[in-house]
Amino acid sequence: MKITVIDYGAGNLYSIRNAFQYCGQEVCVSGIPKEISKSDALVLPGVGAFGPAIMRLRELGIHRVLRSFAKQDKPILGICLGMQLLTEGSEEFGGHDGLDIIKGEVKSFHGFEKFAESSKVPHIGWNTIKVIKETQILEGIESKAMYFNHSFCFAKGDMDNILATCEYRGVEFAAVIGRGVIFGCQFHPEKSSKSGLRIIENFIKISRGAYE
């Protein structure tokens, strides 16, 4: 089974690869659409701004591979900005369309009325997620504290696709989204100690299940 971490110039690829290796799964790292499309499961990382990231995915032709994967019900795990890219779009820096694989939009924390005044952005640090839907991706997690580092969040979308939420300064946002075998984590599972590694293990199991 081949899991590929997509390299499009954004994201801590080395840490993601280490985390998968630690969980017993070797991964490929590639930015070439042909190679990526031959995979059985994909990981879409992301650190930085939405606009340049989505443009880069389009420039490299990777956006087509991701949409095709989604149509074939093949597993995808989006991490942080990677999760946001899977949605319909983000209002960051003037607004950009996303991959439209999972319904919902991404908004700045500042855009929420409930966002406590003088609250700090980015949301950096450990915060507790609340599981809304029992699913395989969130199985067996002991501590629900995960590491977040982001200024935009998944604002609204089909409630069916929200698997876990988190609250920051009065705003409840989606911490984990999912549809079928396509998932997104707003936090960094590869930096969330044991609980994060468990999510990665779960994704590996789901990918094996889909492969077999």
Partner: protein, 252 residues
């Protein structure tokens, strides 16, 4: 409530962890990744590695340390010391670090901060400030690991850096570092009163009460601890239990 982060601070020289007092007189403490792994297992929320030599040779060996750490430590790694250009940052991040802390180069060329924030994202860029008291409610920013005067006012500098797009501030008191006398509370509360990005404070922890003391005073997001953990005065577990008991949210 936001959980407070406990961040062990590892000052690195010649592939070893060192510890000084007021950033001078460095003593060898131990092997970086042995200590790092120990802290990770004990429940550290993040690790801070600071290269106190900041030469090219040292930077390469620090990258190797980070690469090794990232193989079995799955919490955020923040790395600082000697970061001079975007390539340095790209190399450190691709070695497994999540954030970089910048001091001297930012003071020399402030727009370096906005360049880095645009290229890598604000969430990767931490402003490292070494603050030395020069009068009542006045502190001067020091560069070169707290060794060189700059004539720059700390509060004005932090404000400016936030406008340039940094994601976080690491504030170290040069006067209190290694002394175990507690934080410079006036410095911390002054900066905390206006800082719009998350704030990590460092320099001076000597007993577990110093942690709750600073958190009770003002809005800070993380505490970096050096000597106490390196010399085993008390550990991370005790720190978190104590903070929980005194009413602060921590990741247990």
């Amino acid at each position: 409530m936001q959980k407070v982060r406990i961040i062990p601070r590892l000052d690195i020289k010649n592939n070893t962890v060192v510890k000084g007092i007021q950033l001078e007189g460095l003593r060898v403490v131990g092997r970086p990744n042995e200590l790092a792994l120990k802290y990770y297992v004990e429940g550290a929320d993040e690790l801070l590695y600071i290269d106190v030599v900041a030469s090219l040779y040292e930077r390469n060996s620090l990258r190797a340390i980070i690469r090794e750490a990232a193989r079995e430590i799955f919490i955020p790694l923040t790395v600082g010391g000697g970061i001079r250009c975007v390539d340095d940052i790209a190399e450190i991040l691709s070695s497994g670090a999540d954030k970089v802390a910048i001091n001297t180069q930012a003071i020399k060329t402030p727009h370096f901060l906005s360049e880095c924030a645009e290229r890598f994202g604000s969430q990767c860029i931490v402003l490292s400030v070494e603050a030395k008291r020069i009068g009542p409610k006045k502190w001067e920013a020091y560069s070169e690991g707290g060794r060189e005067k700059t004539g720059i006012d700390v509060c004005e500098w932090v404000m400016k850096a936030c406008q340039l797009g940094i994601g976080e501030v690491l504030l170290t008191s040069v006067d209190r570092d290694g002394t175990r006398k507690g934080f410079d509370l006036e410095l911390v509360s002054e900066v905390a009163s206006f800082c719009p990005v998350p704030l990590i404070v460092s320099g001076g922890v000597g007993k577990v009460e110093h942690l709750s003391e600073v958190l009770a005073l003002c809005q800070i997001d993380a505490v970096a601890v050096g000597s106490c953990y390196h010399y085993n005065l008390f550990n991370i577990k005790l720190s978190k239990q104590f903070l929980r008991k005194t009413g602060f949210e921590v990741r247990l």
